[in-house]
């Protein structure tokens, strides 16, 4: 029974306590949350929650059923396959000493990232992409010295 990564996207009532019900379900039943993203949709009464979780085949079946059972979960789908798009954004605070600045700029350019803050010895880089792309740029920047990082976790939609 191997655990695999799953992306779940759900529409929920935009009411106080709803996120807590979703998160509490994961912790209370021993499931894991790898990342979590929540915001209002175009309808202010509805929010979208995207959760990345690791679970076995029977585990993810139970997670989906349990989430569907929550009264405030309106619609739930497991996101996978070519019919879906998935993106993540990261802000990376990387040390940028003389002699490395050009190299960093080149990497950022290749990954179509943006420099959103420049200091005498650092850049803050904004980059979006799928999870692999984010991990790849992080690996390339690691030798320069990443001081801080903030990742949003995956958001996803069906085409």
């Amino acid at each position: 029974m191997t655990e695999e990564k799953h992306v779940l996207t759900m529409l929920v009532d935009n009411k106080p306590g709803v996120l807590s019900r979703v998160v509490g379900l994961f912790s209370g039943r021993g499931f894991n949350i790898e990342s979590l993203c929540v915001a209002e949709t175009i309808d202010p009464l509805i929010s979208r929650i995207t959760v990345v979780t690791k679970a076995t085949e029977s585990g993810i079946e139970q997670i989906e059923k349990q989430l569907n059972k929550l009264i405030n979960v309106i619609k739930l789908r497991k996101v996978s396959g070519p019919k879906s798009v998935q993106r993540e954004m990261a802000l990376i605070y990387v040390m940028a000493k003389n002699g490395q600045r050009a190299e960093i700029l080149r990497i950022v350019d290749i990954f179509r990232g943006k420099i959103i803050d420049v200091g005498s010895d650092h850049f803050v880089i904004e980059v979006t992409g799928d999870e692999e792309k984010i991990s790849a740029i992080i690996n390339l920047l690691k030798p320069m010295g990443i001081k801080k990082i903030s990742r949003t976790g995956i958001i996803a939609l069906f085409r």
């Binding site: 807590s20 349990q66 059972k69 009264i71």
Partner: protein
């Protein structure tokens, strides 16, 4: 002309309107500062209020009321400690899927979050043990929220729903319109089962030489006992049930195998272990039922009918999953089975029935008579004297298991026990609730000397409202079930399970204004039972039983169901 549905009402008045519209005639509760406005309004209605002595008792009583009547139980408590005291009762109702609406008072909205006097975040606390819960933040929302709470409690897989009502909302006047029936887009229970799946069940029945039906509390909750009985008889399939399912099928029927599980009968557990088809209806395959899951019904195709999709394939893989209402599914199966070709297979099943009879004869439920009163003997006589017609509630532990084994239930709603949570202190308040629901019935709480003391204060409630509940204490001066485990699995190290001091239950009963009786010798059992049961008062009967008697059969935790310790 006054438009009846366009009035300015306070929150408390709105609550009364909704309660009336839901047909609520009884509330179990305990007043306090945050609900004083609601209590004031309650006094102007003809809704009956039963004043419990502890809020846990209020929820258990509402639970017992619901199970005995098939209706939604309601309780009303104040904020803070009033609310926290309900948690155990709510968790028990949640595990057993009992429809209860819990109304809690809350501090005024402007004080919420300020650590105000008697403030707790009860919605946060009970989130994981309610089907759903609400904090009402606007008076305009109250009517709709309450209506929705009742709808959620009783529909689909039932369960407890809590509504937290701040004090200022109970006092605020708003325009009141009776809400329409709730229609939630995110909540659509599946009642009608998939016909193709049902057809697969019929095909499996036509092929099965060794079938077993396993019924659970879902059959009782869906009011499908009649349909289950018809189904089993038509298809000639023997029936076992979980603790929660006792009474779903007549205990006097020749097809009855007895209870399944850790303390199930030898023949029920062996039948499940050896069957080739297991039809599970309204169950959730609790670990106390399955034993080691890998060896549960190892040779069987398993069919699972339940209204809650999360129950299916949670613990046990199944061949044919059916999501739907148990009663509706059984009703449709009964129609289909009329057309099924069962003649030959039923002849082939004779070997199976012979095998089951042998299991019954070789290892029936039994115990050895000793000099002291045997607890099983008390229950057997209780069953005989009441002709199996009493409503039985239980506490939790050995008393509960002996009640399940030796009292045989022919009808649903007659065995009321805390199955999932296994909550000591359940039986007496639940008996009070059942007695309120069924004034003409004999209601008996089968208790142990340990668990009866967890909510003994409710004796005052029973006496105050002249509720003639009978409490049968199987008094072994131990926390018997834990002691049994210590004897069998911990080399008889009886760590902290001796109840070396208990009150004199006879004097205690008298102090509360109830009747107290005691039996210390086997020959006193029947006279004490007769005297106690014939009384029109609240009665405690203290049976001083054999101290170290064990419940058998017993499947040790984690062992396969067919590997039982026997007498």
């Amino acid at each position: 002309m006054e438009n009846k549905d366009n009035r300015i009402l306070t929150g408390a008045q709105i609550l009364m309107e909704i309660l009336k519209s839901e047909g609520v005639d009884t509330i179990f509760g305990f007043p306090g500062g945050a609900v004083i406005d609601i209590y004031d309004e309650l006094s102007k209605t003809d809704i009956r209020h039963i004043l419990v002595r502890h809020e846990q008792g209020a929820v258990h009583a509402a639970d017992g009321y619901s199970r005995a009547s098939g209706r939604v139980g309601v309780c009303l408590v104040t904020s803070g400690p009033g609310a926290t005291n309900t948690v155990t009762g709510i968790a028990s109702a949640y595990m057993d899927s009992i429809p209860v609406v819990i109304l809690t008072g809350q501090v005024p909205t402007h004080l919420i979050g300020n650590d105000a006097f008697q403030e707790v975040d009860i919605v946060g606390i009970t989130r994981s043990c309610t089907k759903h819960n609400y904090l009402v933040t606007k008076a305009e929302d109250l009517a709709g929220t309450l209506k929705e709470a009742f709808y959620l409690a009783r529909s689909g897989r039932p369960g407890p729903v809590l509504v937290d009502i701040p004090k200022d909302i109970a006092k605020t006047g708003v325009q009141f319109t009776m809400p329409e029936e709730s229609n939630l887009k995110s909540y659509r229970p599946t009642y009608n089962p998939n016909t193709k799946q049902l057809q697969k069940i019929i095909t499996l029945i036509e092929e099965s030489e060794k079938p077993v039906i396993f019924a659970g509390g879902g059959v009782i909750l869906s009011k499908g006992s009649k349909e289950l009985t018809e189904f089993a008889r038509k298809a000639k399939i023997p029936v076992t049930a979980s603790l929660m399912g006792l009474g779903a099928f007549p205990g006097s029927d020749p097809l009855w195998l007895g209870m399944i599980g850790m303390h199930g009968t030898f023949r029920a557990n062996m039948s499940v272990g050896n069957c080739d088809l297991l039809i599970a209806i309204g169950v959730r395959f609790d670990d106390r039922v399955t034993g080691k899951t890998d060896s549960f019904a190892p040779n069987a195709k398993i069919v699972h009918i339940d209204i809650d999709p999360t129950s299916i394939r949670k613990n046990i893989p199944v061949s044919v999953p059916v999501v739907g209402d148990c009663r509706i599914a059984l009703d449709q199966l009964n129609q289909m089975i009329g057309e099924a070709n069962l003649g030959n297979i039923i002849k082939k099943r004779q070997k199976w029935f012979n095998q089951i009879s042998r299991w019954k004869t070789t290892n029936p439920l039994s115990y050895k008579q000793k000099e002291a009163i045997m607890p099983q003997y008390v229950i057997e006589n209780l069953f005989n004297i009441t002709k199996g017609k009493a409503i039985i509630t239980t506490e939790v532990g050995q008393n509960q298991m002996w009640a399940a084994q030796y009292y045989h239930f022919d009808k649903p709603g007659h065995f009321i026990t805390s199955g999932g949570l296994g909550c000591m202190g359940f039986g007496l308040p639940a008996a009070i609730g059942a007695q309120v629901a069924c004034p003409g019935e004999l209601v008996v709480d089968i208790a142990g000397d340990g668990s009866i003391q967890m909510n003994i204060q409710e004796l005052a409630t029973a006496v105050q409202y002249s509720l003639p509940v009978k409490v049968v204490i199987l008094n072994n001066r131990y926390l018997g079930m834990v002691r049994q485990w210590q004897e069998l699995f911990y080399d008889k190290r009886y760590s902290c399970t001796g109840m070396d001091h208990s009150p004199d239950f006879v004097k205690l009963a008298e102090a509360y204004g109830a009747v107290g009786l005691r039996a210390t010798k086997p020959e006193e059992v029947v006279p004490v039972l007769r005297k106690g049961l014939n009384s029109d008062k609240t009665v405690i009967m203290d049976f001083q039983v054999e101290r170290e008697e064990n419940v058998y059969p017993m499947v040790p935790a984690g062992a396969p169901l067919t590997e039982m310790l026997l007498v």
